[in-house]
Amino acid sequence: MKTIISLFILTAFSAFNLLPTAKGYQIGDMVDDFKLQNIDGNMVSLSDYNNSKGVIVVFTCNTCPYAVAYEDRIVALDKAFAPKGYPVLAIMPNNIKIKPADDLSHMKQRAKEKGFTFPYLIDADQTVYPKFGATKTPHVYILKTTPKGHQVKYIGAIDDNFQDAKKVKTTYVADAVEALLNGKEVSVSETRAIGCTIKV
């Protein structure tokens, strides 16, 4: 009987330990459609991208120094890969009551200042980022359009040096998109970087 109880406890604990990793989309998962407001006032859906080869979804914001450090590189990604079928789709996930400088008017202003060439959507109800399992800004998800839907192929950082774009050794996102464009599997499909916690 004791063994059974300890077994049960052990199972309960291992199940609990597994929980944190089971949050949000994993590599290979299909992403549900979503519809969010863009800075131009229009609504943008993931299904608008059904005819593109894929999408580079970037959770970002105006107020996080890490996100700001990457703005130019996000624009560069869109310029490089939108023509090849992998445009950037930026989503601002923060609660604007906590971060007023992340509201739609500030988003508009920031997009104009930095010359964003892609939609910059607001997850106003904060319902989209939790489904992805995004925890911070910036946080990137590369989706490949397949007959079954938009499939997660990469989760993580843009590259390996947030401080200095010139010192970057590995361009994780660009490498992943290049691989997908060449019909290959993404060799490094998950990376991690420091970022600002999404404000709930």
């Binding site: 390996d160 040096n161 970087a193 420091i194």
Partner: protein, 160 residues
Amino acid sequence: MKLKLFPLYLLLFSFSYSQEINKLDVRNFEALKTEFVPDKEQTLVINFWATWCAPCVKELPYFEEISKAYNKDDVEVILVSLDFPQHYESKLNPFINKHGIVSRVIALNDPDSNNWIPKVDENWTGSIPATLIISNSTYKFYEQTFTKESLLHELKTFLN
């Protein structure tokens, strides 16, 4: 002549002295990791933060309270700052002085975070604040913010 120069010496001396006490401990991850080893009976509380991270700054006083309440041999707090190197002088050092931070501060300057984040904890997605509590028998990681009560509660589970 010598007398005239005296105030200058004094000035230079005090200047170099203040530089000395303000000297920031800057390390890469490998060098930081050597600190993750508690002494025999010690519990280490290691908090990853940055001056620009509002939730981090909010919970910082609770870590400071621990530093003040415990003998270092029992509980030591290390505040690992992830501020950008170009902000050490303009933001981090002034913050430490202004708030009279008593805990040890180490600035982690290691941009290849994909390499070291999993070495802190396999499940850390990289958001801050994040905290480690380490004793000789336990290594626990928290990717969350703490209230004063929840932090003290966690710490107590290590001390009993």
